[in-house]
């Protein structure tokens, strides 16, 4: 494997801020999202969801609904027979698999929003109307509404399993035992929590399934993220060969980890289409989306560190607990695994042990959301670091600088995840560079003078934090490049688009690799199962690393084929042929040129495989002003600096970073799925679940570096979609703590919404007064 990145001089497109190809259709209303589709004979589905968080289904009477005008079917568990459960895509330990979700409530309901019945009717409106005619008798059971009660195992959600704790995931580096802590000159232990919130992409989910009876084949439109994995799952559940299941990807209105996983509807809608022999379409409304799509975060952590008097870290240990909701979904254990693996962050800590328990409650199941486990981890760790630095009288920046993994330490091993036997290591980097650059961009020294000061009635504070972003997850990706009749190139790839701009960045990479003008790459066809034999999709910041390097491989092969064909025609050696500006050019003196269209029909398959992850890294800094009278925090400035190894498109990378930071700010200040003691979601609309708007966080700056390419792939690329969100909670919470240092306010729980922060300020004042 080559370990050197190609020289920039030979590249025209990679590294340039190319305006996106996708934009032309999105800006003119010509994008095609799944709900935009309509086919002949199409029926519509609506789903009856449980309004009870925990209960036994005594009966379902759908006869009145079936009798309604325009209703073609009502499907319940009884109509499905043996109700399949949704297989785990990631980390399927036997213990965790006992909690898989049935595709429709089967005897019990375990969260508000769980599908109980599906109505298929002539129109979406008639289907929705008929939902109210279904009589469901549910015997309500006592609700397990929080982690603490769940762990008591007084009320069990899965009676046959006998516990509400599916598993505990442990990661270890060195020996973080009592001896390590007892002998340390300094230790501090704190309890932190991060609230339940979620990805909430702007486009609700949708599916259009068509059954081809003659060929016993199902086509599912609206797939994304992992269409190939989902094809395998659906084929198994529908008892079809994989080749008889076709997943088609359209434009996707945002994913952020949540969209595109296999959900109950991904079985129910195709099942209905086969049952009725008619195309069936389903579009989620926002109300059901907020209880049906994966939630995320929702963790608490008891974290302890030990260090020397100068702040040098010796050991870190933690017990964390994630509330994963009522079932383990496809990647429901991923955040827990990541917490175990990255709680120690980009720091040299010889002894680490992190135990993360997964706990089942009567809430919407969780899954991955951009920076899964990492956002939560960074909040806890960076908060504790600021507390420890203050205790020790060590400057906060110096504390981090002293402990960052050094370039000489690379590759540096992350704690090993024990049960899953996952080992990973930081691949390359100089973490001091990004920290220094962040401080310089932020004008840290100047602003440090304002830290903790009361200016014009508001408390001002600053903070900085460092992070790691794992990306480039394997095992591999596949690409096909084909020369078309008009001399253009079609690119087929197993990576998926969730709105991040893969068409543009892949066209850039392919154009450079083939040394053709970018407009020659006329089609980038991604995601759908038609395009390559096996694809692996887009998650875990993998598309550029895996798909991009696979393009490089395919391009090299296609160039060889073109050179060989040209050599045959020009009667020279293939090595004499140069591909230049879309022509195959023969040797001097004739320099005969053959247009690419002469090679129509040539195509090459490429692949890139890697078992090792890449690690991007960086530092963020925040400057806030807190109004103690209201609890409102104004973000005066925010700087994000990252090194992603190789920048393909600075424009889209910048967009990824700023967008991720703002999502992180939503998680830090605004977004909160609040449940009551009966397991009812109290913030189930956009009027209650508050996401950032255009006026909330106007000042954010992002700088991307490519100083340290990854040694793990020819492009030197690392993941880049998630870094922006990872450190946000920790950095802004530390800035708020720094601002309110005089009041003794130490945030330990997110979100820092105005009422919660106001209460903390009141409590701190009361404690002060009592003294």
């Amino acid at each position: 494997m080559s370990t050197t990145a190609p020289k920039r001089a030979s590249n025209l497109f990679v590294g340039s801020p190319i305006e996106r190809l996708e934009d032309l259709r999105f800006l003119t209303g010509r994008g095609q999202y799944v709900d935009d589709l309509a086919v002949e004979n199409m029926l519509h589905a609506a789903i009856l969801r449980s309004s009870v968080a925990h209960g036994r289904i005594l009966s379902i009477d759908s006869s009145a609904a079936r009798a309604r005008r325009g209703v073609h079917a009502v499907i319940t568990a009884a109509d499905i027979g043996t109700v399949p459960t949704i297989p785990l895509r990631h980390d399927p330990t036997p213990a965790i698999r006992r909690f898989e979700q049935p595709v429709i409530a089967d005897g019990k309901v375990r969260y508000v929003g769980e599908p109980i019945a599906v109505v298929i009717a002539e129109s979406a409106a008639l289907a929705e109307d008929a939902l109210e005619a279904i009589a469901v008798d549910i015997e309500a059971l006592r609700v397990v509404a929080d982690r603490e009660f769940a762990r008591k195992d007084d009320i069990i959600l899965f009676e046959t399993v006998g516990t509400n704790v599916p598993d505990t995931i442990t990661a270890v580096r060195g020996k973080a035992d009592d001896a390590a802590f007892n002998s340390a000159p300094y230790r501090r232990r704190e309890h932190f929590s991060v609230q339940r919130h979620a990805a909430v992409p702007m486009e609700p989910r949708g599916l259009l399934a068509e059954w081809d009876d003659a060929n016993a084949r199902i086509t599912v439109r609206g797939a994304c993220k992992v269409p190939f994995t989902n094809r395998r799952a659906l084929a198994q559940m529908m008892n079809l060969p994989e080749a008889s299941v076709r997943m088609v990807e359209y434009d996707v209105g945002g994913g952020f980890g949540a969209r595109g996983e296999f959900y109950p509807e991904d079985f129910l809608i195709p099942f209905a289409a086969r049952l009725l022999g008619r195309p069936v379409k389903w579009t989620e409304d926002r109300r059901e989306n907020l209880t049906a799509l994966n939630h995320a975060r929702d963790m608490e952590c008891d974290l302890e560190i030990a260090c020397a008097r100068d702040g040098a870290l010796i050991a870190l240990r933690a017990h964390a607990c994630t509330d994963i909701g009522a079932y383990v979904r496809t990647n429901g254990a991923t955040a827990a695994r990541n917490i175990a693996q990255v709680l120690a962050g980009p720091y040299r800590i010889p002894h680490v042990r992190v135990d993360v328990s997964l706990v089942i409650t009567n809430k919407t199941p969780v899954g991955t959301y951009r920076g899964p486990g990492r956002f939560e981890s960074d909040f806890c760790r960076e908060r504790l670091f600021d507390m420890a630095a203050a205790d020790l009288g060590v400057d906060r920046v110096e504390f981090r600088r002293r402990n960052l993994i050094r370039e000489a330490d690379m590759p540096y091993p992350l704690p090993k995840v024990q049960v899953l036997d996952i080992e990973s290591e930081c691949d390359s980097g100089d973490y001091q560079i990004t920290l220094d650059r962040c401080l310089a961009e932020f004008k840290w020294a100047e602003r440090a003078k304002l830290n903790g000061k009361l200016i014009d009635g508001r408390h001002h504070g600053i903070a900085v934090g460092c992070y790691l972003e794992g990306g480039g997850t394997g095992p591999r990706e596949n690409v096909r490049l084909a020369v078309e009749a008009d001399g253009s190139i079609s690119l087929f790839v197993g990576s998926s688009s969730v709105g991040q701009g893969v068409e543009t960045v892949f066209a850039q990479i392919a154009a450079d690799a083939l040394e053709v003008p970018m407009e020659r790459i006329n089609r980038v066809l991604h995601g759908s199962t038609d395009y390559v034999a096996q694809g692996f999709g887009s998650f875990s910041s993998r598309s550029i690393v895996m798909g991009g390097n696979a393009i490089g491989d395919a391009a090299q092969k296609l160039r060889t084929l073109i050179r060989e064909a040209a050599a045959k025609r020009l009667q020279c050696q293939a090595s004499d042929i140069v591909i230049d500006r879309g022509m195959a050019v023969g040797p001097a003196p004739a320099r005969a040129a053959i247009a690419l269209k002469e090679f129509a029909g040539l195509c090459a398959d490429g692949t890139f495989a890697s078992a090792k992850r890449t690690y991007s890294y960086g530092a963020h800094a925040a400057y806030v002003a807190v109004d103690a009278k209201t609890g409102h925090v104004e973000l005066i400035d925010y700087v994000a600096v990252e090194d992603v190894g190789r920048i393909v498109n600075p424009l889209t990378l910048h967009g990824q970073c700023i967008g991720a930071v703002v999502q992180g700010l939503g998680g830090a200040f605004l977004e909160h799925f609040i449940y009551d003691e009966n397991g009812q979601l109290l913030t189930g609309s956009f009027a209650d679940y508050l996401m950032p708007t255009a006026s909330d966080f106007p000042q954010i700056r992002a700088v991307a570096l490519e100083d340290k390419p990854s040694p793990l792939n020819p492009m030197g690329a690392k993941g880049a979609g998630e870094g922006g969100i990872i450190p946000v909670g920790g950095v802004v919470a530390n800035a708020v703590a720094a601002a309110l240092g005089s009041l003794g306010v130490e945030p330990r729980d997110l979100p820092l919404s105005p009422p919660r922060l106001w209460q903390m300020i009141q409590a701190a004042r009361a404690t002060c007064a009592a003294r």
């Binding site: 032309l24 095609q32 486009e203 409304d285 109300r287």
Partner: protein, 161 residues
Amino acid sequence: MPVKFEVNGKRVEVEVEPRLTLADCLRHKLRLTGTHVGCEHGVCGACTVLVDGAAVRSCLMLAVQAEGAKVVTVEGLSRDEGLTPLQASFRKHHALQCGFCTPGMITTAHALLSEEPNCDADRVREVLSGNLCRCTGYISIVEAVLDARTAYRRRGGGNGA
């Protein structure tokens, strides 16, 4: 019941149920799928269209209420070929990623700039704060709208997209 109105300069007559929203009418009856539906409770702004020049949430308006109105959707603010100055500015500033909120942003920004081609950044943020975007973090959208002001000034507001 029948409803007659004008969409993107063309007169249409559609048979609708009284309960059908304007958004669903545009999308599913008239197949103008550029208008997106993101929340159906008037918060996200993805469904914003122009009704007699004003930016309106088409998920909160019934199709029958459009009787006699002039409705303009993102398709009506687009050319057959290429991009309008507002759209080009969005592209230049990378003011969109997944594209789902984009039609609502374009219609909202067009209504603003047509009325107030000299608006400042705070005003842009205030007006756009009624449209949710989950991808961009808004900064590039605000920049794009500010940058497009010159095109609207040149045309003296109105239909300058």
